[in-house]
């Protein structure tokens, strides 16, 4: 319990500042609703928010799984093939130079307004961090391990499987942790561009109707969801990162 105390204190502090600003400025509630109003709205609209959270959650989780799998496979391909490095690596960097926002409309055009254009956005946004961190790890195997494997007459495949991949798992873990933070952003961008469900859609809808309290409630829900997802991925990757266990 004690270890959650600092987080709790920080949350209480943030809410207090928020309330202070609301009290001092006396802004109309469609500009800046107070924490109490947002909490009340959140509770009243909990069914609505839950429904949209579920949609965004599914998009994020599928995106995370697909993006991570693609990233892992790409990194291994890049690490084992010089041809792949020459042909694919520049493309990978170039796709990162494109703003994901600019790709969202075209993805919606191709994949429709449903789930898959948002999954694709999440995949796009996490593909690079996962690929790049895992690839870095695979290319930075301590040279001593490789020397040892060489004197043991190991095949490149065996070295990859028994040494390079396990040695790169901490890097993969940090890639996945980044991905857990980015994936919801990707899904929400997708929802903003064109959707009829999801927290991003709900935020946009509420904003358009000056229901700022609902907008805040949806936004905070998304924030809490992202933090929980990050914690879950962090815990799931602890062994991988060589922390404890």
């Amino acid at each position: 319990m004690m270890r959650y105390l600092p987080a709790l204190a920080a949350a209480v502090f943030a809410v207090a500042i928020w309330q202070l600003i609301v009290s001092l400025t006396d802004l109309p509630k469609f500009i800046l609703p107070g924490p109490l109003l947002v909490a009340e709205t959140w509770w009243k609209s909990r069914a609505l928010i839950a429904e949209h959270t579920l949609i965004t959650g599914i998009e994020v989780l599928i995106g995370l799984a697909v993006g991570a799998a693609l990233g892992i496979v790409t990194a291994i391909q890049l690490a084992t093939s010089r041809v792949a490095r020459v042909l694919v690596q520049p493309m990978l960097v170039f796709t990162q130079a494109l703003p994901v926002f600019a790709l969202a409309p075209i993805l919606t055009l191709w994949l429709g307004y449903g789930l898959w254009s948002k999954v694709a956005m999440a995949v796009l946004i996490i593909y690079f961090p996962v690929t790049s961190s895992f690839f870095d790890g695979l290319m930075r195997t301590p040279p001593g391990y490789l020397d040892l494997a060489r004197t043991m007459q190991a095949s490149p495949r065996a070295v990859l499987w028994h040494i390079r991949i396990p040695a790169a798992l901490p890097n993969l873990a940090s890639g996945l942790r980044l991905a857990a933070v980015y994936a919801p952003i990707g899904a929400v961008i997708g929802e903003w561009v064109g959707a009829s469900k999801g927290l991003g859609y709900l935020m946009l809808l509420a904003n358009g109707r000056a229901k700022t309290d609902l907008m805040f409630a949806a936004m905070l829900t998304l924030g809490v969801f992202s933090v929980l997802l990050h914690i879950a991925v962090r815990k799931a990757t602890m062994r991988m990162a060589g922390e404890g266990g």
Partner: protein, 249 residues
């Protein structure tokens, strides 16, 4: 046999002849080094004289230098596949248990590790009760004993040791030296070291490597591993240090 009852193929003598250059610069002048069959040869020298390069060339590892010469075995067989290697860094995989580290070679070649041999070796290096621990749970001396067991598990007739004991504290180092001599008996061993005391204790033959070439030094009389307080050994250690410092012996 030294590590139990398994027969090692008779250890060959290894002959190293040649020179190495890095770019336009010469790393070492043409030299000729023989590793006597079944004996310890200590190659002693300061940093940067290329003694590790000699060892890595024999092991078939990358060196960054261009080698012009030959490395041959007295029985005419290939050298590289018959070599086991141990470095200053124990090179234990942190995610693998002691057992998994010791059997790494077999796993890398998709072979089934010889369980009886594994158990015997773990017993010899006194690590049986640590078999399922990860390297992080072991002391420096224990880790180096795991590395020694891993080297022996390979069951190769030629053993290349690149300063394997230099990171250990003095008493652990002396223990490891005794253990290594006992377990590696009958194999052709090259020990690269910068420690004159180590060379004087362990070398059946002692060779000092300098930029100018090799100097063969007479080893002390006693059997290896020589006692740490053996006067002849201490005198030899002093003579080697003088040689390294550029003083006349």
């Amino acid at each position: 046999m030294a590590d139990g009852d398994d027969p090692v193929t008779p250890a060959p003598e290894i002959t190293f002849q040649g020179q190495a250059t890095i770019g336009a610069a010469q790393l070492f002048a043409p030299l000729s080094l023989s590793l006597a069959a079944g004996q310890w040869t200590c190659l002693l020298g300061g940093s940067g004289v290329g003694k590790s390069t000699v060892l890595r060339l024999i092991a078939g590892l990358q060196t960054g230098a261009v080698f012009d010469g030959s490395i041959t075995a007295s029985d005419g067989g290939e050298v590289v596949p018959r070599v086991a290697y141990m470095a200053q860094d124990d090179l234990l995989l942190p995610w693998a248990t002691v057992t998994q580290n010791v059997t790494l070679g077999a796993r890398l070649r998709s072979e089934k590790p010889d369980q009886a041999r594994l158990q015997r070796l773990l017993g010899r290096v006194r690590l049986t009760e640590h078999a399922n621990k990860k390297p992080a749970e072991l002391s420096g001396g224990q880790r180096q004993r795991v590395a020694l067991a891993r080297t022996l598990m390979e069951d190769k007739p030629v053993i290349l040791l690149d300063e394997p004991f230099s990171a250990l504290d003095a008493q652990t180092r002396a223990d490891m030296q005794d253990l290594a001599v006992e377990l590696l008996a009958g194999r052709t061993v090259l020990l690269v070291t910068h420690d004159p005391g180590e060379a004087a204790r362990l070398g059946h033959s002692i060779v000092v490597m300098e930029q100018s070439g090799l100097t063969h030094c007479p080893p002390p009389q006693a059997d290896v591993p020589r006692k740490v307080d053996d006067l002849d050994t201490l005198a030899s250690q002093a003579a080697l240090l003088r040689l390294l410092r550029g003083e006349a012996a």
